[in-house]
Symmetry: C2
C-alpha cells in the first residue's frame, strides 16, 4: 500500500508534477479548470502531502516547538491547550518538549527542535536558566521565538505575561481589607521575574495602606508544600507573628494550611491565607483556598497568535499582559 505522490496525480491527470504542486497550493497561475481536476483526482486517490519533503524543499516547516518546564502542571498543560486551539486550525502542528526545570535539558530541547527544523519556538524558561545563549541562537537563526510566563525581557521576541503584579496586589489588598493586621509573604524563587513581580505587588499594597514593611515575615524561595509547612511553623514562633500570609504559589499555601491545622490555628478566624495560581485542588481542600487565577488558556492563545504573526513576517516585538483575577474562598474573611 504505497503512498500516493504528486507525480501519481500528475500521471493520472496528464499534467506535470510542478503543475500539480501549484494547483494544490491554489496558485492562480494554473487555470481554474486544471486546479479543479487536480483537486478532485487528489481526493479520489487519497493524496496526502508529504510534509517532510515539502519542509526539506522550503527549508522550514509548519511544526512549532514548545518548551515547558513540566507538562503535568495545571498551568502549563492549559497553556498548551490554548496554543493548540490556535495553531491546529491554522495548519500548524505542535511538538512539545519538557525541560524538567533543568537548564541542560532546556538547551537540549531547543537543539532538538532546531534539528527538526521547527518553524518557531514557544518557551517558558526553567527555574535554573540564567544563561540565554540558546535563546539568542534561535533568534539569530531567524527562527521566530515567543516567550511566556517565565521570560527574559532582554531577548528580542514577543512575550506573553501574567499580570503577576496586579494579582499579588489584589490578593494582599484583600487580606488587609478583610481585617488582618500583620501580613507576611511566602515568596517564590527570586531568580524568576514572575515571583519578583508578585513580591512587588505585595509591597505596593502594603505601601498604599500605609503598613510598614517587616522583613522578618517575608520568606524567600518557598514554593513547595513542605517548604510552606516548615515556614509557617517557623513564622509563628517569632515574637511579631503574622496573622495572615500571601503565598506566591498554591502549593506553599497548602503547606501553610497543613501547619496551621497542626497548631490548631483557626482559618480564617485567626489567620488568613491567600495563594496564587488557582490550582485545581485549591477549591477542594478544607478550607477552600482564596487564590489568584491566571488565565493559562488565554496565555496560550495569545502566544500562539503572536507566533503566527511572526511566522507571517508581521513581527513586531511586543509584550502582552494577561489579567489575573482574585478568587475569594474560605481561607480568608470575606468582609472587605
Amino acid at each position: 500500500m504505497k503512498r500516493v505522490t504528486i507525480s501519481d496525480i500528475a500521471r493520472e491527470t496528464g499534467v506535470t508534477p510542478s503543475t500539480v504542486s501549484r494547483a494544490l497550493a491554489g496558485n492562480t497561475r494554473v487555470s481554474l479548470k486544471t486546479r479543479e481536476l487536480v483537486a478532485q483526482k487528489a481526493k479520489e486517490m487519497g493524496y496526502r502531502q508529504n510534509v517532510i519533503a515539502a519542509s526539506l524543499r522550503k527549508g522550514k516547516s509548519d511544526t512549532i516547538g514548545m518548551v515547558v518546564p513540566r507538562i503535568n502542571r495545571h498551568f502549563f498543560s492549559n497553556v498548551i491547550s490554548g496554543v493548540e486551539e490556535i495553531l491546529n486550525p491554522a495548519g500548524y502542528t505542535l511538538v512539545i518538549a519538557q525541560s524538567g526545570e533543568s537548564y541542560l535539558k532546556e538547551q537540549k530541547a531547543i537543539d532538538m527542535l532546531m534539528a527538526n527544523h521547527v518553524g518557531g519556538i514557544i518557551i517558558s524558561l526553567s527555574v535554573q536558566t540564567n544563561d540565554y545563549d540558546h535563546l539568542n541562537k534561535v533568534v539569530s537563526r531567524g527562527i521566530p521565538l515567543v516567550q511566556f510566563d517565565r521570560v527574559n525581557p532582554n531577548i528580542q521576541c514577543s512575550r506573553v505575561l501574567n499580570d503577576n503584579f496586579n494579582g499579588a496586589y489584589l490578593a494582599t489588598k484583600h487580606l488587609i481589607k478583610a481585617g488582618y493586621k500583620k501580613i507576611g509573604h511566602l515568596a517564590g524563587a527570586t531568580e524568576l521575574e514572575a515571583y519578583r513581580e508578585r513580591y512587588q505587588g505585595y509591597l505596593k499594597a502594603l505601601d498604599e495602606e500605609g503598613i510598614e514593611l517587616d522583613q522578618e515575615i517575608i520568606f524567600k524561595n518557598v514554593i513547595t508544600r513542605e517548604a510552606g509547612y516548615h515556614t509557617i511553623l517557623r513564622a509563628l514562633k517569632k515574637e511579631e507573628r503574622p496573622d495572615a500570609v500571601f503565598c506566591a504559589g498554591d502549593y506553599a499555601a497548602l503547606g501553610v494550611l497543613d501547619g496551621l491545622k497542626e497548631l490548631h490555628v483557626k482559618v480564617p478566624e485567626e489567620f488568613g491565607v491567600v495563594g496564587f495560581a488557582n490550582e485545581p485542588f485549591s477549591e477542594l481542600i478544607h478550607p477552600t483556598l482564596t487564590t489568584v487565577e491566571q488565565n493559562a488558556f488565554e496565555i496560550g492563545t495569545r502566544a500562539a497568535t503572536a507566533m503566527i504573526k511572526s511566522l507571517e513576517g508581521k513581527y513586531t516585538e511586543e509584550e502582552e499582559v494577561i489579567p489575573t483575577r482574585l478568587i475569594v474562598r474560605d481561607s480568608s474573611w470575606k468582609n472587605d
Copy 2:
C-alpha cells in the same frame, strides 16, 4: 549564518559526502582514522544533522506520535513523562496530539501524524471512538502502533494496560472486610473496556464473599463530580440504601463525598467511599480518599519500550498488564 551540511564537512576533510554520512553513522566500512577525522571536524564546524532530509531519504523518522484524550489529566501527563523518559535517551522525539475525547479529532490527529511521517504511534482511545479504521490504516501502512489504557484488543499491536480488574477487586474486597454491608458501584462509561473491567472486579469480590448482587445500587456512566453528587443523593433515597460505594473514578468519588457531607452522613463511620486513579486531590480533600493507584509513569515506560521494540523490527504482539495498588485513606475504615 548558514547551516553546515555533510558536504561542507566533506569539502573540509577531503572525502565525499557519502563517506561523511557513513562516518557519522559509525559505519565500520569507513576506516577508524577517517571516522575520527570526520567526527572532529563535524564538532569543530558545529554540524547538526538535518533530520528532515534524513527522514525524507529513509522514508521514516525518529519522531514518535502520541495521541491522548487530554494532556492536562494527571494520568495522561504522567504517562507522557514515562514515554519521554525512554524515548528521548534513545534518540527519538515525541509529538503529542490531543483528541479531546472526540473521534473526529482523533482521526485528524492520526492523519496529521502520518502526514508527518512519524515512525510510530502510541495511543489511548477517546471515549467516543467506536470505529477503528484509522487504527487499522496505521497498522496496514506498516507503522508500529502501541495502545495503552483505553485500547481495542482487536487491533494487531502491542498493548499496555492497567490491572483494572484487580484494582477494583481489591477496592471492593477492602470495603467488605472493613465491615460495610451493602456496597454499591458507580461505574464509568460502559463503552470503555477499562471501566468494564473495574465492574468485573467489583463483581468478583462480591461473589467471592457470597454477597448477593443488587442491580439497584449499580449506576452506570457516572464519571464526573456532578454525576457522583446526584447519584449518591438518589441512591440514599432508595429503600435498600448502600452503606458504601466503590467508584470507578476519583472525580465521581469526590461528588459522592460532596453529597454525603450535605446529608450529614459521616465518613467513614456511616459510609465508606473508595475511588479509582489516585488523582492528586485525593489526598488533599477531607476526608482523604481511599483509592486505587495506577502506575501511569510505568505504563508510559512500558509503552515506549514496546514501541522501540517494534521500531527495531523485534515486534511481537503482546499485552502487558501493569499492577495497580490500593491506597487506604480516611474515607473507609481501616480495620480489615
